[in-house]
Amino acid sequence: MLTCYIKAIGITAPGIKNWTEAQSIFQCPEKHKVQAIDKKLGTLLPANERRRATRVTQLALSAAQQTGDPKELSQCLQIFSSSNGDLTTFNQISLALAMEGRPVSPTRFHNSVHNAPAGYWSIATQSQTASTSITAYSDSLSAGLLEAAVQLNSSDNKQQRDCLLVCYDEIPPPAFQSQLKVLQEFACALILSQSSDNALAKIEIASGSGSESISSLSSHSLEELRLSNPQAMILPLLNVIALQKDEAVTLPYFEQGLDLQITFQLSNKTCLKKQDNTHSKTHSS
């Protein structure tokens, strides 16, 4: 079993702009309406990189940057997880490859790597820590969470760094939609820590007992969102954190699933509640 503490949450999702909004929606789910995410997402990228960054990078970064001050975030270990990466860029490159002379754009080419959002993030925050971009297809969310918890708890994390986990997936281009049912964009970022100081919740992660018990949501609108993107499977976890009730959540992870026990027996619970209500960004400091 792996234990870690959630320090901060960022979310960019249809009808949910940030963690503050998410909290009020989980408390009152009828408020939620699935609305397309803004076309223009503010990111902390420098002008040059902002021009070159694709939608999926902007999506990932918009959630990541909600979790705190860039200077502090630059000290975190970096885990990025996506089921399908940047198929929009793949589509553009492949269309160019089907043309006379095969004129592939160099910028598109470097954007095509799975770790492009992670690379842009490290440039934007000047973060020189280890950066790991992973995928496990429809189980990418849990694989990302496990990788983050493992890096956090490993003896090689000698400096006891916190870990930034960013989970994101775009809507694929039309050619892929018959094989790939991702209907909405979704990005979520968590700061995970070994320390309980200023934590939102404690989570204990263990292998599940079967994939048939994957957690769902009772609200129709939120459940629709959960099923619209592989990374949106994180919503039941966020729901429990928003409602602050000790509970277990099961996320998809191969045959067995991944069990998370969430608890709130934290010394600073009351002061956190106040902080959540007054800050647009929830963060440890």
Binding site: L97, A98, I123, S131, A136
Partner: protein, 380 residues
Amino acid sequence: MKNGITGLRQNNFLDVGLDTWIGRVDEIEEQVLPGSLINYQCRNNQLAYLALQQDDFHFAVEQAKQHYGADRLGLFLGTSTAGILSTELAYQSDFFKTTGILPESCHFREQHNSFSITEFIRKLYQLKGPAQVISTACSSSAKVFASAARYIELGLCDAAIVGGVDSLCLTTLYGFNSLELVASEICRPADQNRSGLSIGEGAAFILLEKAERVDEQQSPVYLRGYGESSDAYHMSSPHPEGRGAYQAMQQALESAAMDAAHIDYVNLHGTATPVNDQMEDKALAQVFSSPVACSSTKGWTGHTLGAAGSVEAIYSALCIQHNFMPQSLNTLTPDPAFTQTILMQSSLSNHSTSSIHSVASNSFGFGGNNCCLIFGDQPC
């Protein structure tokens, strides 16, 4: 390798009209995946299947499964492009050009998606343990060693298959060409006139187990340490002073609890682009107080991208087991500005006791993603 024979040839891949050399693997096209996994049939998985048939690997996996259990054997693989060639070729078809629909022979999940390689092998061996793909461009399959070692350390699995697979495709050939990083002549790592890389393909698999279970009779090689870092500089160019490369090597030495002086040989990232080789030399100069023996093996294989980390991990292991240091193949005149000892001839020691005890292997990728692995003939 001992005879200095390159695996590179002048480009003859499909209708790719680029004047360059490639590391193309023979016999890929003849590989037929088992019937139940036929949807996974694509160049990348065929290449993986070809590699898995070597060195009694099937047998080693079956033994590990029996010993640990299928749910205790992890699978950690690296790739950058997986089987995207299948989709690229579909885009060239008249059917796609007229309908905008991918043909039914295109199986996105089983061929194109980066996880396809892991899912294929997971099904092939009926594994039930933790599994993931790390895709950080050209450091991908070096980083899987670090990931697997941590999973084993924390008890999430008892052993792991690690490795990397990347196969030739249009995106990487034309993409690196668009960045003017592809050489028209054969790649010449560390050469004063080096002009870029030769792209290769490769698959490499390693069974990683806890040190206490080794059989000393089999000359085991130990993963002594690893280091991972980010340049935070540029998407497709490394930091010119090798900032991140230095950090990765330094961390790897710390993790191995070793002094740089104890590294006998460095397997360089050594892509043969002007910028990479220069910055890597500068990074090495910061780590090693006296010049270290080093070479890139990309003169043999070309740059196998996401597979390079694992391919070169195997070379590093072979160096230790065979007491061998490979020359910098195709290098005519080492760059006079370089500070380290570029090996111009392979050395095979005759000593009965090994003199190559420890090897460091570097892998650096787009997005400024760096990894250094240290292997040794002794555990930590």
